[in-house]
């Protein structure tokens, strides 16, 4: 199916958010996630299933004022 990750469309077979992060190489990374604008905390990534067209955000710490 097609989903959007950080604004980029891509094809994935990942059934869950956790699987998608694994697929994208975020597994070991310190990141936070949101699906369609709603926060999904780390503990719920396994049970969070993805649907076609979902917009996923994966964010990392960055400089800020």
């Amino acid at each position: 199916m097609t989903v959007t990750v950080n604004g980029r469309q891509l094809e994935t077979q990942a059934a869950s958010l956790a699987a998608l992060l694994q697929e994208l190489g975020y597994a070991e990374r310190k990141v936070a996630t949101a699906v369609n604008g709603d926060f999904v905390r780390a503990a719920l990534r396994d049970e969070t299933t993805l649907n076609p067209g979902d917009a996923i955000d994966v964010v990392v710490p960055m400089q800020g004022g």
Partner: protein
Amino acid sequence: MSLRLYDVEVGSRLLLGSALYPSPEILQRSVAASGAEIVTLSLRRETATGRESAVLVSLIEQTAVRVLPNTAGCHSVKEAVTTAQMARELFDTPWIKLEVIGEEDTLAPDPFGLVEAARILSEDGFQVFPYTTEDLVVAEALLEAGCKVLMPWGAPIGSGRGLNNPYGLRTLRNHFPDVPLIVDAGIGRPSHAAQAMELGYDAILLNTAVAKAGDPVLMAEAFAKAIEAGRIGFEAQPMEERDMASPSTPLAGLPFALKEVQ
């Protein structure tokens, strides 16, 4: 004399932003020179320059400062709330510098979205540091929403103009004598920060004035001293301003007077 932000005792009254420095090394040295115990960070999608993120975080961790994550760039309550939730997980802190931007040119806060987001987050257990204006009524609403600290702007973010409305800031300070008030944004020079502290403000949050100075590390030191100077000056109670001059050197005993000066 010491400052308490929520349940945290703070020594330094300078809060420093981590953006726009020439290099991570200069950021690290600037933080050290500033003596800041609190540094702001943000959340972003990983970019091409992703590795910098890791560098940045490790630098912050090394300097052992407390992180104040922000919601910079958020224009809606929803964005701000979700960003705050992601920040809490990522940085493991209930603190959040809440920005809900209402206007692009001045990056002015949106008082309506700000108060709504502050209420939602406070009820969800966050300790909110709202970036607001000097508006007394908005300030009152933010306190009712659960904020225990307020961060009025001095001038638009990154403008370096100093205090655009000293009267408004003074009024806000006098109106809420017991609320920690931090001037956030608009400071350009050390004297601006000292002026704000002399008004009785509790601390200053700045970023561009240090990061974009010719020598950021040196400027960080300058602001550290200016903020101490302003705070100590406030506590020492400045003299009354006089409209006409009056001599500092006593006139009694002035030589060459034909008669004695009594």
